[in-house]
């Protein structure tokens, strides 16, 4: 190995530096594992329903806006919707202006408190956007292809029904 220094003192310094980095790496890894729950930005609906979220305390809820669940009040800015992690659902009430990206099926993070009846009263709603970037035509093509696929898988079942 020509990369390793031959000089004993340099070797010693290299070993010391490697030791320093692994030591700090291990310490930080242990600390972050211990703090995992605190570093997470939000709780999922499943975590909230299993009682992991703090009670009577402000916390963040994250998940997807359930399809067909958004109801707006005509007279004021009240919005009702459900947040899902595709398994469990939590109902959310929010009064305020929603971000542009807010729509059904979109990921959101809401800050607020859980009411006794299990409804989440949000003070702030932020939209999460995904890591996909494509032109609108490409997005439409994917949507059409998916719609076609679901139709082709559902038609045989549909024909059996009558």
């Amino acid at each position: 190995m020509r990369l390793l220094p031959k000089h004993p003192q340099r070797r010693k310094r290299l070993a010391l530096i490697s030791l320093l980095i692994t030591g700090i790496g291990a310490a930080v890894a242990l600390a972050t594992v211990a703090l995992k729950e605190n570093i997470n930005l939000f709780y999922s609906p499943t975590q909230i329903l299993s009682g992991e979220a703090p009670k009577n305390h402000v916390f963040r809820l994250g998940g997807l806006v359930a399809e067909g669940s958004v109801k707006r009040n005509k007279d004021n800015l009240d919005v009702y919707f459900e947040v899902t992690d595709t398994d469990k659902k939590v109902a959310v009430i929010y009064n305020g202006i929603l971000p542009d990206l807010f729509r059904e099926g979109q990921g959101i993070v809401a800050l607020g408190k859980l009411r006794d009846d299990g409804v989440f009263i949000a003070d702030e709603v932020l939209a999460k956007h995904d890591e996909n970037y494509m032109p609108p035509e490409a997005a439409k093509a994917i949507e059409d292809a998916q719609a076609k696929q679901t139709r082709s898988t559902t038609t045989p079942q549909g024909s059996q029904q009558p």
């Binding site: 020509r2 220094p5 340099r10 310094r13 290299l14 530096i17 320093l20 980095i21 700090i24 790496g25 930080v28 972050t32 995992k36 570093i39 997470n40 930005l41 939000f42 999922s44 994250g62 929603l98 971000p99 542009d100 990206l101 993070v109 702030e124 709603v125 932020l126 939209a127 999460k128 956007h129 995904d130 890591e131 996909n132 970037y133 494509m134 032109p135 609108p136 035509e137 490409a138 997005a139 439409k140």
Partner: protein, 246 residues
Amino acid sequence: MWSFLHKLASPKHFYHFAGRLIPWLGWSTLLLMLAGLYTGLVVAPTDYQQGESYRIIYIHVPAAWMSMFVYMVMAGAGAIGLIWKIKMADIVASSAAPLGAAFTFLALVTGSLWGKPMWGTWWIWDARLTSELILLFLYLGFIALQSAIEDKRTAANACAVLALVGVVNIPIIHYSVEWWNTLHQGPTVTRFDKPAMDTSMLIPLMIMFFAFKLYFGLTVLMRARGEILERERNSTWVKQMVTESS
């Protein structure tokens, strides 16, 4: 190869070598930057979800990548300086620090400007944003520590240790969006799968990435040359060069 590297470790040789490289780097940076900005801001299509606002990605993402890359360069140079006691490595590390701080600052500011319209907030204390902010503080700490210690050699050693300790933050920044749930989305390009970005949008991003890389190469060499002249101002070759040019 090894003799070439050995020669580069001499400040005088480095000074002249960098001087020959700088014009090439300057012109290619300018060309790539113009090409990247034109293709990114004009040619690339709009995004299906974010419309035109996603175009800030062409500054934000290269700046964020560079903020981590420059740190690795700085820490690597610091380690070389510590182990082999090469003065040139210390000079490169200290020249890179303010540039890295600038890239980090740019990534944070553009991210904030992007966050307001898309997420609905300028700032949130999620793992990605917080770890990137810590990176900025590491750079600032490096710069402050260096200017606080008068003796150049002691300063370089102390700064190298600080830079090496901070390396632990780099994987945290990169994997923060996977290890914890964050408001910031997951990686688009730097993942094992194929990039989750349309090719027509990815090409300008790659051009901008190389433009930023070359810009860093250019500016770090320019800063290193200045630093060499300052440190070697009493050596014969610098004095000779000054008298010849005047």
